[in-house]
C-alpha cells in the first residue's frame, strides 16, 4: 500500500525501538500492551483477508485452535518456551486454515462471513460440552519461559512476553507490508475489484483467497498462543462470536492504510476499555461504544488515516480503495 514509503530496515528499527520502550513502561502497561499486540496480530490477519473483499467474523475459531493447541501440548509435554508456544499456536491455526480455507474460499461476501462465524460457534459448542477440557470454565496452564530461562520476577516475566509478542507482531507487520506490495497482494486487491476478470487473466481467485485465508489463520493461531501466555487460562470464550467481533472492530478502527495503525488501534481500544472500567464501572460498555462510533464517524478510514494523508491520488487502485474498503468491512 505504502508504495516505497518505508524501508524494511527502518521498520525493523521501529520494532526494536518499541520493544526497548517496554523497559521504561510502567509494569501494568506491559501486559496490556501484550494483549494489544496479540489482538493486533489477529486483526492484521483480518486486514490481509479483507483485501480480497472478504471479512471473517469467525477468527475466534483459529484463535481458540491456537490457544487450546498450545495449552494441551503445554500441559501434556511441558512445553513452556514462549517462542515454541507461539509457533505451535501458529501451526495449529494454520493447519485448521488449510482444511477450511479451500472449502470456504468458494463463498464470498455475507456468505463467507456467516460461514466463518458458524464454524467458530461449532467449535465453541463442542468446547463447552467437553468436560475433559474444563467445559465452560476452561483450565489453566503454567507460566511461559524463554530459551530455558524462567522468569520469577513478575516485571521481567511481563517484559519477556511483551518483547516476544511485540517482535512477533512487528515481524508479521513487516511481512504484511511486503505481502501487500507483492504480486499476490496486488492480485488480492484485484480479486476484490473484479474476480471474474482476475480469472480471465489466468489467476485463480479461489487460490488467492485461500492463501490469504491461511495467512490470516496462522496469525490468529499465534495470537491465540499469546493470549494464552498472557492470561495462563483458556476457556471456550476464545471461540465465541463476540471475541471474533472484537477483532473485526480492531480492524475497522485501524483502517487499511497502515499496518502500524492496527497496533495503535488495538492499544487504544485496550486503554479505553481499561480506564472506562476503572472510572465508570457501570457504563464502561457505553464508553467503548461511543469511542467506536466516534472513530467510525470522524475517521471513516480508520486511525491510520491520521498520519497517512491522501497524497496518492495519482495511483488508481489506491484511490479506489476507500469506498471498497467501507463496502468490504461494513458487511
Amino acid at each position: 500500500m505504502k508504495h516505497g514509503r518505508l524501508h524494511p530496515l527502518v521498520m525493523i528499527a521501529l520494532v526494536v525501538a518499541a520493544t526497548l520502550f517496554g523497559r521504561i513502561l510502567p509494569t501494568w502497561t506491559l501486559s496490556l500492551a501484550t494483549v494489544a499486540a496479540s489482538n493486533a496480530l489477529i486483526a492484521l490477519g483480518i486486514v490481509i483477508l479483507a483485501r480480497t473483499g472478504n471479512v471473517s467474523f469467525g477468527q475466534g475459531l483459529f484463535f481458540a485452535a491456537g490457544g487450546y493447541g498450545v495449552a494441551l501440548i503445554a500441559n501434556a509435554w511441558g512445553v513452556t518456551d514462549a517462542v515454541a508456544q507461539m509457533v505451535i499456536g501458529a501451526v495449529c491455526g494454520g493447519l485448521l486454515g488449510l482444511v477450511i480455507g479451500p472449502l470456504i474460499a468458494r463463498y464470498s461476501g455475507i456468505f463467507f462471513g456467516m460461514l466463518t462465524l458458524a464454524l467458530s460457534m461449532v467449535l465453541y459448542g463442542a468446547l463447552v460440552k467437553s468436560s475433559a477440557l474444563g467445559g465452560s470454565d476452561g483450565f489453566n496452564v503454567g507460566r511461559p519461559s524463554l530459551f530455558g530461562m524462567v522468569f520469577v520476577d513478575p516485571r521481567e516475566a511481563d517484559f519477556m512476553l511483551y518483547a516476544v509478542s511485540v517482535v512477533t507482531t512487528g515481524l508479521a507487520g513487516i511481512a504484511a507490508t511486503i505481502l501487500f506490495r507483492s504480486e499476490l497482494g496486488l492480485a488480492s486487491l484485484a480479486v476484490r475489484e473484479n474476480n471474474l476478470r482476475i480469472e480471465y487473466l489466468g489467476i485463480s481467485a479461489n487460490r488467492v483467497i485461500t492463501i490469504n485465508f491461511i495467512i490470516a489463520a496462522v496469525f490468529a493461531g499465534a495470537s491465540g498462543a499469546f493470549a494464552l501466555m498472557a492470561q495462563r487460562h483458556i476457556d471456550p470464550q476464545f471461540a465465541y462470536w463476540t471475541t471474533s467481533g472484537e477483532f473485526v472492530f480492531v480492524a475497522v478502527l485501524a483502517g487499511y492504510q497502515s499496518v502500524a495503525a492496527v497496533f495503535v488501534a488495538s492499544l487504544a481500544l485496550e486503554l479505553v476499555r481499561s480506564f472506562s472500567n476503572l472510572y465508570l464501572p457501570n457504563t464502561w460498555q457505553l464508553v467503548l461504544g461511543v469511542f467506536l462510533l466516534g472513530v467510525i464517524l470522524f475517521l471513516p478510514r480508520g486511525i491510520g488515516s491520521l498520519w497517512i494523508r491522501e497524497k496518492r491520488k495519482r495511483s488508481k487502485p489506491a484511490a479506489a480503495t476507500p469506498a471498497a474498503v467501507r463496502k468490504g468491512v461494513a458487511l
Binding site: P26, T27, W28, T29, S31, L32, V35, V128, K129, S131, G134, G135, S136, D137, G138, F139, N140, R143, P154, A157, A227, A230, Q231, R232, H233, D235, Q237, Y240, T243, E270, L271, V272, R273, S274, F275, N277, L278, P281, N282, W284, Q285, G294, F298, L299, I303, S305, L306
Partner: protein
C-alpha cells in the same frame, strides 16, 4: 474533509494526552486507608441476580464499617482503624478481561487486596495471576471446587463454601424430611456450573437414595429462556423429584413456564440456588418447593445481632431484603477485616504487609451474618460454612414468599474434610461427615 481531519486529529491528540495523564497519576499509597479492589457483575446475565446485590451489600458493609456503626465484634472503624477505599470493577466481559483488570488493580491502582468474583471461570483464571504477583486475592463466591482441588495457592483465599455443599445439603434435607424419591429428573444449564451441580446432586442422591432411578436428564443451553420442550419431557416423565441448578432469569423463566403446566403438582421441585428469585417471583413461586440459598442466607439466616443489623440495614438502604450474593460479600469483607486486625495485633498496629495478611487469613475463623466461617480446606485457604434448606410458602399478608420448615446443617456435615476431592468424597459415602 481537511477541516474535519484537523478537528479529528486534535480530538484524538486530546484523548491521547488525557489517557497518558490518567496513566501517570499513580495514587499515593496512604498509611491510613486500605484500598480494596472489588470485582462483581455490574452488567450481563448475572448482574441482577448476584452482581448488583453483591455490590450493594459490599457498599453497605463498607459504609457502615467506615462509620464504625457495625455491631460486635466488628465495631472498629474500617479495617483496624484504616478507612476502606473501594475500587469497583465490572466482572462482565470474560476471563481475558478479568486477568487484565486484576493486573491493573494491583499494578496500576496499587490496591492492598482484591475481593470478589462470582463466575467460576473468572475465579480459575485470576487465581494463578494473583499468586504470581504475590498479591492478596479473596474470592467471594464462585461455585467450582476445582480452584483449590487442582492447584495450591498461598495468596488466594475463598471465603465461601463451594457448590458441593449445596447439593449434599439438599439430599440430606430430603432424607431428613422423608421426601420420596424413587425416580429423579434433572434440568441444568449446559455449562460448568450446571454440569458440576448435576454431577454432585446425582452422586449424593446415589448415596442416600441407593435405589433412585434417573429418568429425564436435560441440559438446555445457558440463557435459553424457553423451556417448552423440556417441560413437556419433565411432565411426561412424571418423576418424584425434579432437580435444577438453574439461576437468575433462566430459573424465573422455567418456573413461570412450568407452573401453569402442572409440573410442581406432579413432581417435587428441588432448586439448589433459588432464594434470589423469590422477591421478583412473589406468588408465582409454587408453594412447597425445596430450595437452597448456598448458605444460611436471607430469609433462612439465623438470628444474631450481626445478622439483624445486616438484614435490616440492607433492606432499609436498598428496599429489598439481602439474598445470597449480598451475604457472601459481607462474609468476605468481615473475613478480611478479621485478618487485617489479627495481623495488626501481631505487628504492633502497623498496616500489615501482604505476607502478614496472608498468614493471618490462613485457617482463620470468623462470625458473619450467615454464621461461622472457617477456613478449613486447602491448608486453610478454602472456607466451609453451615447451610440451610427450606420450603417455600407464599405469605399473602406480607406479599412475599416465606421460607418454612427450615433445617440447618453444620459445615462439617455438608462439606468434604481437608484433602479429599469433593466428588470422590460424595461417591465414597461422605466419610467423616459430622452432622450433629
Amino acid at each position: 474533509m481537511d477541516r474535519f481531519s484537523r478537528i479529528n486529529r486534535s480530538a484524538v491528540f486530546l484523548s491521547v494526552v488525557t489517557a497518558t495523564a490518567l496513566a501517570l497519576v499513580t495514587p499515593a499509597s496512604a498509611e491510613d486507608t486500605f484500598k480494596l479492589g472489588i470485582v462483581t457483575f455490574l452488567s450481563g446475565p448475572a448482574a441482577d441476580s448476584f452482581g448488583v446485590p453483591a455490590r450493594n451489600g459490599g457498599q453497605f458493609v463498607i459504609d457502615q464499617l467506615n462509620k464504625g456503626a457495625v455491631p460486635s465484634p466488628y465495631e472498629k472503624v474500617g479495617f483496624g482503624g484504616m478507612k476502606i477505599e473501594p475500587v469497583i470493577i465490572d466482572e462482565n466481559g470474560g476471563a481475558t478481561k478479568q486477568v487484565q483488570e486484576l493486573r491493573n488493580l494491583y499494578q496500576r491502582d496499587n490496591v492492598d487486596a482484591v475481593l470478589g468474583y462470582i463466575g467460576s471461570g473468572d475465579c480459575l483464571a485470576v487465581a494463578p495471576i494473583a499468586e504470581e504477583l504475590k498479591k492478596m486475592l479473596v474470592l467471594m463466591d464462585c461455585g467450582t471446587p476445582r480452584i483449590f482441588e487442582e492447584a495450591k495457592y498461598n495468596y488466594v483465599f475463598r471465603t465461601a463454601a463451594h457448590a458441593t455443599m449445596d447439593n449434599v445439603g439438599l439430599i440430606r434435607y430430603m432424607k431428613a424430611k422423608n421426601v420420596k424419591m424413587d425416580t429423579l429428573s434433572a434440568i441444568n444449564q449446559d455449562y460448568a456450573w450446571g454440569q458440576d451441580s448435576r454431577a454432585d446432586f446425582v452422586a449424593a442422591a446415589g448415596q442416600l437414595y441407593p435405589n433412585v432411578k434417573l429418568q429425564t436428564d436435560l441440559l438446555p443451553k445457558f440463557g435459553a429462556g424457553q423451556y417448552g420442550t423440556e417441560i413437556s419431557a419433565l411432565v411426561g416423565a412424571g418423576s418424584d423429584v425434579v432437580y435444577s441448578s438453574l439461576w437468575g432469569g433462566d430459573l424465573q423463566a422455567f418456573i413461570l413456564q412450568a407452573a401453569p403446566r402442572g409440573l410442581p403438582k406432579r413432581s417435587q421441585l428441588v432448586f439448589s440456588a433459588a432464594d434470589h428469585v423469590l422477591p421478583p417471583l412473589g406468588d408465582k413461586m409454587p408453594d412447597g418447593t425445596i430450595i437452597g440459598a448456598r448458605g444460611a442466607y436471607g430469609l433462612m439466616s439465623q438470628k444474631s445481632p450481626l445478622n439483624d443489623w445486616f438484614f435490616k440495614g440492607y433492606e432499609a438502604v436498598n428496599g429489598v431484603y439481602p439474598v445470597q450474593a449480598a451475604y457472601r460479600i459481607a462474609q468476605s469483607i468481615f473475613g478480611l477485616k478479621a485478618a487485617v486486625e489479627k495481623a495488626m495485633a501481631k505487628n504492633g498496629g502497623k498496616k500489615p504487609s501482604t505476607d502478614e495478611l496472608v498468614a493471618a487469613m490462613t485457617g482463620l475463623e470468623w462470625q458473619s451474618p450467615g454464621g461461622l466461617i472457617q477456613m478449613r480446606l486447602a491448608d486453610g485457604h478454602q472456607a466451609i460454612q453451615p447451610i440451610a434448606i427450606s420450603r417455600t410458602k407464599y405469605n399473602p399478608d406480607l406479599k412475599r414468599v416465606d421460607l418454612v420448615d427450615i433445617q440447618y446443617f453444620p459445615a462439617e456435615c455438608v462439606n468434604p474434610p481437608p484433602g479429599v476431592k469433593s466428588l470422590d468424597w460424595i461417591k465414597g459415602g461422605m466419610q467423616g461427615a459430622k452432622c450433629n
